[in-house]
Symmetry: C2
Subunit: 185 residues, 2 copies
Amino acid sequence: MRPYVKKDYPLSEIRRLLEPGPVVLVSSAWRGERDIMTMGWHMMLEFTPALVACCISSANHSFALVKGSGECVINLPTADMVDAVAGVGNCSGGEVDKFSAFNLTPVAAARVGAPLIRECYANFECRLHDARMVPRYNLFIWEVVKAHVATVPKHPKTLHYRGEGAFMVAGTSVSRKRRFKQAYL
Amino acid sequence: MRPYVKKDYPLSEIRRLLEPGPVVLVSSAWRGERDIMTMGWHMMLEFTPALVACCISSANHSFALVKGSGECVINLPTADMVDAVAGVGNCSGGEVDKFSAFNLTPVAAARVGAPLIRECYANFECRLHDARMVPRYNLFIWEVVKAHVATVPKHPKTLHYRGEGAFMVAGTSVSRKRRFKQAYL
């Protein structure tokens, strides 16, 4: 399965991966610097254009990079990467290069300057859509302009932060498809 | 375990339940009407005050109730409620009373007019904090003013929507507490 073999993915469907609420890794680059941060405070905001809202504290080293460049990549790590995820979230990009420190491989993106993280199950290239809520709430609205998603497995074992240093690992699926209206699937 | 025995819960800690990204049930009441909707597009926005951002489409019957009253309750259902969750998400409050239709019990809240849903693991009473992004994005920012959370089990088996009528059920926990800085726990 590793490294994940990824394909282009329809932008209107990225909710399938982000709506369950996984921890993600945000990669960015600006003026010769690059960084990665963990992020748990994000949500889907629109299907088309594919908008994602998120909160990035100005206390993060990445804040200046994503705001300055107006770009980032949202990367979806899986449970086997839990040490890298915890590590990335507990040091500062002002002190270490997180790609090197956690053996994460930067790969050139197609439509933004920020690097993809090769080891992740999915990568969503983002351009800043609306920064008006940044001063008050650190709330960024991104448009996903390109999505790379692994073809196998269908359901990645994502990590979901529970606090106190613990992550929930994505569990089994239960379908109620027969109860759904077609338009709501 | 049922019905859940709930206690007051510190507002600054509600992220432990919402950050993993569960589907929630939003209950509301306004001008003699009440309704429930499912919601998967939400995120934490601030610890103190405890702010939660969410997207509620104006196509929902609940939209007028939450906007008109400026209040709602965010209720956290567990996997045993999957039929009610799928049911609530696939009919309109304009046609049915969802409390009756899905055997959900309304309980008076302490600080808002919207009812709690008794069967849920947790209930977060919310007052509208900022509606300025509603016209453009259907983006509401709520302040949680009171939280009721079950004491057992510690980790509820929440539901996380994967699309196509399928929910991921919260899985096992993996701790990396020893790798966390105290301030980040």
